[in-house]
Amino acid sequence: MFELLGITPQGLAAQLLVGLINGSFYAILSLGLAIIFGLLNIINFSHGAQYTMGAFIAWIGLTQVGQWFGFPDFSINYWFALILVPLVMAGFGLILERTMLKRLYHLDHLYGLLLTFGLALIIEGMFRHWYGISGESYPAPELLQGVIPLESIGIILPKYRLWVVIASLVVCFSTWYVIERTKLGSYLRAGTENPKLLQAFGINVPLMISLAYAYGVGLAGFAGVLAAPIFQVNPLMGSNLIIVVFAVVVIGGMGSIMGSILTGLALGLIEGLTKVFYPEASGVVIFVIMAIVLLIRPAGLFGREK
């Protein structure tokens, strides 16, 4: 059989598909980060923790809420959680923004990063304290359990993973459309640069900023729910991911919406291939790419040069 570097074409196709799945998580998380960075000038270090929180809330909804209120049979199912959790997270984001982040806008990026870093520690610590480190498992919804056996071409694809790719692509691209192709988008970009002035032109910038943060956090929550059935729901699931997602945002170009989506997907693929051909390096490949990109294109692949 025809083989390339010890791997069959079918195998390669499967690997690319799997890479794409990871890429969708990168895309959806880095999209949230990019929106927040773009508008608030804050590097939202707690993004990972908020993703974790999304997964945990979904799990709590499914298995715990009923008991809390004395109706052991009551539970919030996956589909419901997929809508509810992002909303809850957005509300949480709104509170954070109104009470804390708001005070940091006039300062260096650094402070936002430190504050959200602190928040991440608190959130992570709480879940660790309540639910331990090993985490909890969350079953995929009935509808999406099982695999799509494409054995003729040697690929077995879990239905759920396919759903993840579709769901996140839809969310990513509709977000992109709203931001880049509508008036709202130019407000967002202008607001990034000079929020005070934009206000003087009659735009409710504080509200816009709050909503943007809430939306970003909501996206993290959404990604959390999507991830819950794949990965163990555990307090560290986000912090392991977040550094990589930062790199994605930087490679894509900080604040560039399309950049973060495409780079997220592409890096998922590249990382997947690295895992096949040189697995030891899969942890570092993204950083190598980041260094190269920044040296060649300082503003990132899709970033605007200042």
Binding site: I43, G118, M254
Partner: protein, 309 residues
């Protein structure tokens, strides 16, 4: 330097000198604080006085730690030579990373340094001589200049203290030197400095290399004090920690990083036993600091006295 400040420094040095004559503070703890204080000061030279936020300083700290540990253990080198090699190594690494990174600014500079230091981390995991996850353990402290046995914590302490004071003095001197003056000008208005004929990149690079080498000095000392070098030393958490120390103490202040290092190391030590609560507590401290004490401890104190007078 005003008289008052000289007096303050005098008292601090005196306290440091007398430290071994008590039982309350554990000497190894004090040495750890000194190592990290030096590290934070070196970092602050870059952040506070050159305006460059590096998110990859662990690379220098860790590289020197590994080099010193390796040569002292495997080649049986004396501690002073081990330290010199460590500093040299991190200085060269600083030159390499710096030459790439200083071409970028702001948040991108931070990210390039992070990326490059992740590669150093990767190398540390993969190269055989670092001992992977186990690190290099059981590094002998050896005989300083072939004379003083550093196995004894007290002599080791004085060695660390001397190195710290040397490094600290060098940093203070650098900040106020002609070189430091140009750095300050660059930080304030880079294009203007260029138009005055200063080759800005060379200044930034130089400052980067000095900072890297001194961070390396701190790392080398640390590996002797604890007699081990591990992945923790090159991990990005370490880079984050030094940012925290500097910020908490007050960036751009001379003494701030020292205080910050003291607080952070102390917290780590005393919060260590409460498990997940310690994470929560650290997070809480971050949040409170950023919201309420932004100038850092030393910065707030100076500000208080300034606004009173």
């Amino acid at each position: 330097m005003s008289l008052k400040i000289k007096l303050l420094y005098g008292i601090l040095v005196l306290i440091a000198l007398l430290l071994p004559f008590q039982d309350f503070i554990y000497l190894v703890f004090a040495m750890k604080v000194l190592c990290f204080a030096l590290f934070a000061c070196a970092f602050n030279l870059l952040l506070g006085f050159t305006g460059l936020l590096s998110f990859g300083h662990a690379a220098f700290f860790g590289t020197a730690a590994y080099i010193t540990a390796y040569f002292c253990k495997e080649a049986g080198l004396s501690p002073e030579l081990g330290v010199v090699l460590g500093v040299l190594g991190s200085g060269i690494l600083g030159f390499l990373i710096g030459s790439l990174a200083i071409r970028r600014q702001g948040i991108y500079f931070a990210m390039v340094t992070l990326a490059l230091s992740q590669m150093v981390y990767f190398l540390a995991v993969q190269l055989p001589f670092t001992g992977g996850e186990d690190g290099i353990q059981g590094v002998p402290r050896g005989m300083l200049f072939g004379l003083i046995d550093l196995k004894d914590d007290v002599s080791m302490y004085y060695f660390v203290l001397a190195i710290f004071l040397l490094g600290f003095a060098l940093i203070v001197r650098t900040v106020h030197s002609p070189f430091g003056q140009v750095l300050k000008a660059i930080r304030e208005n880079e294009p203007r400095a260029v138009s005055l004929g200063y080759d800005v990149d060379r200044f930034k690079l130089m400052s980067f290399v000095i900072s890297a080498a001194l961070s390396g000095l701190a790392g080398s000392m640390k590996s002797l004090v604890f007699q081990l070098a591990t992945l923790t030393d090159v991990h990005w958490h370490m880079s984050g920690e030094v940012v925290l120390m500097t910020l908490l103490g007050g960036m751009g202040t001379i003494l701030g990083p020292v205080v910050g290092a003291g607080i952070v190391v102390g917290l780590q030590n005393y919060l260590a036993n409460i498990g997940s609560w310690s994470t929560i507590a650290t997070g809480f401290i971050f949040v409170v600091c950023v919201l309420a004490f932004r100038r850092g401890v030393v910065g707030e104190i100076t500000h208080f006295f300034k606004s009173k007078s």
